[in-house]
Symmetry: C2
Subunit: 326 residues, 2 copies
């Protein structure tokens, strides 16, 4: 019996819980019996070592934050085998996710996370502790949502040397650039539209200034390219200064503009707006994410997928769970 | 110590052997010590239970076919743990690959193959025997060369229900259609060009009439969609009747024409030329392959990669080897 705890019960955490409930039979064929024994949020938790009632937990959450045991009390006092960490991303110091993850590894629980913060703060520290303890540390959901990238490079392209990874890793920026390209609108006009559609946050800086893409790129660099780099090592230029005129010039040469995150073997790591041929796979439209992986044996491999969303991100977490336990 | 035998020592078999030699140290970190104990072709073999000299084997092969023990004698008489089956594809009855595979499973060896024939002839028979014996049966290289698709759907998208898979699975057809689209040439003109460039065979029927795509699609249907179908269940229309005028009409509506292989949950399985919007990921250019996988949780996922080539196909085999043994 695999005992699961979900830390952070926002959209992604709830999405995971729903899939665990709805797909229980199919999932148990793959990984054996499991039980969700705890869900926590920033205020409290619901714990039942015999398996919590997921529908009731989601209904309870709709009414406001949990009470009862805190996340740290759950981590220290409840018996579980795997923690699914979906608390809020904080790329400054990775907290509170980083502490959650380190404490869980110390007590012997496997980690699956969608939270970029802890990996930005200390990927190699987490990875070393997991290896030392012989525990799984899976993080497909931190980069590109449902776009399969981390395990794709690590396992499906295993045996290849990776020359570079270039990607469109932020759906908000890509939506804005696509609309500017198609509608000849200004950055400010499209941003307002994106905010109305909930594609951009009220404070859009984290996305449009390139930090979200940079955080994801850093994870790729440290996890897949054998690097040991910090956020301050990443060149970061956002999309806020791009004009409709720039798109006109690009278009006249059959190019468009995309925010491209690139890490390569020579050590370059940066997020910058770049000219991309309009028929290139990275000239992707809307909120989709895309990545081009250049390898020595397999040549160029491209993946595209939805970079965000409740079930999309939950799906990446579930794929990690199946991968880890089957 | 993993003892490996390579059956079929053409471009792909030699590519695998070269990678086993050149990447020995890195590979052994992932899967432990291994040794290539036999390589065979349609005439004979080289066998050394202490590990054959790969450079000498490749040099020997350049001079003509092997002599010595036949493939069946090697399968019956040599001790190995995993067979890499790269003999020539025969989609009529799957032989001789099918017999190689069944004999190896019976004796207790794992199977990794790039050979579509046996899977077209009897995927479920092979799969049942492998499961009964507790042996690995891996076949990433049978579909799309270096484009990661089989394991991607099976593992990276595990937990999802697959609505459909649509793909461009034959590089020769895609090259011909791309050139017709771009150069307004006739099918016959482009075919001649493709034959000169060795992109099309002297007898191109297997590719251009859609059989190669259909064989690959059949593997996807049986392996990934839970179906039990035969080649005669596949609707197959090739590209030989497509005219430059059809491209003109398509282009005027912002479409192009591609040979699309589709299998869906409702049971449809077919390979037919179709109109594809020019900005759609399946409107891919040249000899590349692409696939669009529609899932319930992850939404649309797209992969693209090189569908053929010595090292590309070998890379898919090596990824299976690492996946199976690490």
């Amino acid at each position: 019996m695999i005992k699961i705890a979900i830390i952070g019960f926002g959209a992604v955490g709830q999405g995971v819980a729903e899939i665990l409930l709805r797909r229980k039979e199919e999932l148990e064929k793959k990984i054996g019996k499991f039980s969700l024994v705890a869900v926590t949020d920033s205020r409290g938790s619901i714990v039942d070592e015999n398996g919590i009632d997921i529908i009731k937990a989601i209904e309870r959450k709709k009414k406001g934050r949990f009470d009862g045991k805190s996340t740290m009390e759950v981590i220290e006092g409840v018996d579980f085998d795997v923690m699914i960490e979906c608390s809020v991303t904080n790329i400054d110091d990775g907290e509170p996710g980083l502490t959650h993850i380190m404490k869980c590894l110390e007590k012997g629980a496997h980690i699956i996370t969608s939270n970029k913060g802890p990996l930005v703060a200390d990927f190699h520290g987490i990875n070393r502790l997991a290896e030392k303890k012989g525990l799984k540390f899976m993080f497909e959901a931190t980069v590109g949502g449902a776009m399969p990238l981390i395990k794709l490079v690590k396992y499906n392209l295993a045996g290849n040397s990776i020359e570079f990874i270039k990607g469109v890793l932020n759906g908000t920026c890509n939506y804005i650039l696509t609309r500017m390209e198609q509608e000849k609108m200004t950055y400010q006009q499209v941003l307002a539209e994106a905010q109305e559609l909930n594609i951009a946050e009220a404070n859009p800086d984290y996305d449009v200034k390139g930090f979200d893409s940079a955080a994801k790129l850093l994870i790729l660099a440290n996890a897949l390219m054998g690097m040991d780099v910090k956020l301050s090592d990443v060149e970061i230029v956002g999309i806020t200064d791009i004009t409709p005129e720039a798109f006109d010039v690009a278009k006249s040469k059959n190019y468009t503009i995309r925010l491209i995150a690139e890490v390569n073997k020579k050590g370059y790591i940066g997020v910058t707006p770049r000219l991309v041929p309009i028929e290139h796979p990275l000239a992707i439209h809307g909120t989709m994410n895309a990545a081009l992986i250049k390898t020595d044996l397999a040549g160029d491999v491209v993946v595209m997928g939805r970079g965000a969303g409740k079930y999309e991100t939950a799906s990446a977490i579930i794929s990690d769970l199946i991968f880890a336990f089957s």
